[in-house]
């Protein structure tokens, strides 16, 4: 399959603009949020211009069209990730909400004394990893505080891989759920989800996969991964903000108590008590981001037209080139795998003598957008022995020339701050 980056770049209007006094934009912050192609932007405008209505309850033509767009998006998402049926796809605001949905549902199952695999108490354990985004750490800390369960975690090696050497001690019959990132948002590391999921299942635990950083970049199949839950977000995959997905196995979603209560998630409401709709609607209280869901489907269509296997192959070459260019810089340390093996398109690094904030400032002055700080992964930075890092993250519209410009910008920062540049 051919991959023509010049043609792809023409789809993204924002890449035509200049920043910081007329310099071309070099956008290397797609792990934060991606840019959007014209096809996606047109879908959003078209929905509001032609089909806008509330869904499920409007008894008129626009309501039918809006409902078809929203439920059609659910079908598209289900096909995209290999879900057994569209009802396994719950729309959320983002991955944080998707993870919180599961965590709060488990908390509710515990508080309501429902028993079963979702109820937690003292002696039960949740297992996460040290390389998680805060969104896959904090909800579990809060859940453990509410229920008396214990939080445990896999460490990371200094090479930025998951340290699975103590997996037998970590995943035990006490483990109720294992939650981990498919791909680290800092290190780019792609984790061996399948083998960990198999161990978790053998111990009777459930597996939740944070796929925010993988779904935009590679074909992801929930069954092949061995996940029970999987979350991803639209805005990192050419789609709009405000729309995310929680996929869960049907039997699990049926068993789980609701998270948010409100309109549309009910079956019957009386003043004393209510009963709830079957999934996915049980978890979709209130008016949902309808236009955003419809537009997410357009983003999936766009990525499908490009071809995720071709995209992945192109990014692999691009990341290999970028890693090579960065490795040549004296005093630069890449956090995470230095070779393009089992790693994605996010490259975080430190440079001796130049703080990440100062690095990003110098790069920004040259029109290069990167992220500086701890990237919502503070424990990971502590584990790697650094306070903060600079992250350049690539996507389908980035070029080898942009990776070279990054390397040159880093050297300029070294010169500016008078440290031993090369």
């Amino acid at each position: 399959m051919s991959f023509d980056v010049a043609r792809i770049r023409k789809d993204f209007p924002i890449l035509e603009r200049t920043v910081r006094d007329g310099q071309p934009l070099i956008y290397l912050d797609s792990a934060n949020t991606s840019q959007k192609p014209r096809q996606v932007l047109d879908t959003l405008a078209d929905f509001y211009e032609r089909h806008n209505a509330n869904i499920h309850r409007a008894t008129h033509q626009l309501g039918e069209e809006a409902t078809a767009a929203y439920e059609g998006a659910r079908v598209t998402v289900a096909g995209f990730i290999g879900a057994a049926e569209p009802a396994e796809v719950v729309f959320t605001k983002n991955v944080s909400e998707a993870i919180n949905l599961v965590a709060y549902s488990m908390g509710n199952a515990s508080a309501l004394g429902l028993g079963g695999r979702f109820a937690l108490g003292p002696g039960d354990e949740i297992v996460i990893t040290e390389m998680e985004h805060h969104s896959n750490i904090v909800p579990w800390q809060l859940l453990c505080q509410r229920t008396g369960a214990t939080l445990r975690w896999f460490g990371v090696t200094q090479e930025g891989r998951l340290d699975t050497s103590n997996i037998d001690g970590l995943i035990t019959e006490r483990t109720k759920l294992v939650a981990l990132a498919h791909q680290s948002n800092v290190l780019g590391t792609i984790n061996p989800v399948r083998s960990i999921a198999d161990r978790a299942h053998a111990a009777g635990a459930l597996v939740l996969v944070d796929a925010a950083q993988s779904v935009p970049h590679m074909p992801v199949d929930v069954a092949a991964l061995g996940a029970d839950f999987l979350g991803f977000t639209g805005h990192k995959m050419c789609g709009p903000t405000g729309i995310g997905v929680l996929w869960g196995r049907r039997e699990l979603l049926e068993e789980m108590p609701p998270f948010l209560g409100g309109g549309e998630m009910i079956e019957d409401v009386r003043m004393e008590r209510s009963t709830f709709a079957p999934p996915p609607h049980k978890f979709e209280a209130g008016t949902m981001p309808i236009a955003e869901a419809a537009t997410l489907a357009a983003a999936i269509g766009y990525l499908g037209d490009v071809g995720l296997p071709a995209l992945r192959e192109y990014e692999h070459g691009l990341v290999a080139h970028a890693l090579e260019a960065l490795r040549e810089i004296d005093g630069l340390r890449i956090l995470g795998p230095a070779e393009p093996v089992d790693r994605g398109a996010a490259i975080s690094f430190t440079v001796d003598g130049v703080h990440p904030h100062d690095m990003s400032q110098v790069l920004d002055e040259r029109g290069i957008a990167v992220r500086a700080g701890h990237h919502c992964a503070w424990p990971l930075h502590r584990a790697m022995g650094v306070q903060a890092s600079t992250r350049a993250s690539f996507y389908l519209y980035n070029t080898h020339e942009e990776a070279d410009a990054l390397a040159e910008g880093i050297r300029e920062a070294q010169r500016f701050f008078g440290v031993g540049g090369s």
């Binding site: 990440p356 904030h357 100062d358 400032q361 002055e365 701890h374 930075h381 306070q387 903060a388 701050f417």
Partner: protein
């Protein structure tokens, strides 16, 4: 180039050779402030002493981890505030805060702010204002606590 307007030579000098750095004894109060956006942190100690004009800042010592702006800011702060009365120090603090909130339009008074006028360019970069303010917020917090302890003593 705009970088020079942000990173004035005074700032880079303070960054490379910070004044009054390190944590010293004795001290009245110690605080630790963190910028949750980037992880920059400062641990700052304040020592007050009595004078005819009221409590005076006898010492400000600190351990700062962070970017050039946040480190230089701590250095300039210690230079400016050591030896001043708490009342004067708070006025300088207010003036610096106003400068940081000026969106590049501020006209700093060098008589009040000294080397801190070099930070005027920072106010044009919203992402960096917190870096410049980190040590100042920590000093205000530590000093308010020290004053509180004096009043309750």
């Amino acid at each position: 180039m705009r970088l020079e307007s942000l990173y004035q030579e005074i700032i880079l000098d303070h960054y490379r050779r910070p004044h009054h750095a390190g944590l010293r004894e004795p001290f009245d109060t110690e605080v630790r402030h963190v910028n949750p956006v980037c992880g920059d942190e400062v641990t700052l100690r304040v020592t007050l002493k009595d004078s005819d004009a009221g409590p005076v800042v006898a010492d400000v010592s600190y351990d700062a981890l962070g970017c050039s702006i946040s480190q230089a800011s701590a250095s300039v702060l210690a230079d400016l505030l050591i030896g001043r009365t708490v009342g004067e120090g708070m006025k300088v603090n207010d003036e610096f805060l106003a400068l940081m909130q000026s969106q590049g339009e501020g006209e700093p008074d060098e008589d009040v702010l000294g080397d801190a006028v070099a930070f005027a360019g920072v106010s044009k970069y919203p992402a960096r204002i917190k870096c410049a303010l980190l040590a100042w917020m920590a000093w205000k917090d530590a000093t308010a606590q020290a004053m509180g302890e004096r009043e309750s003593a």
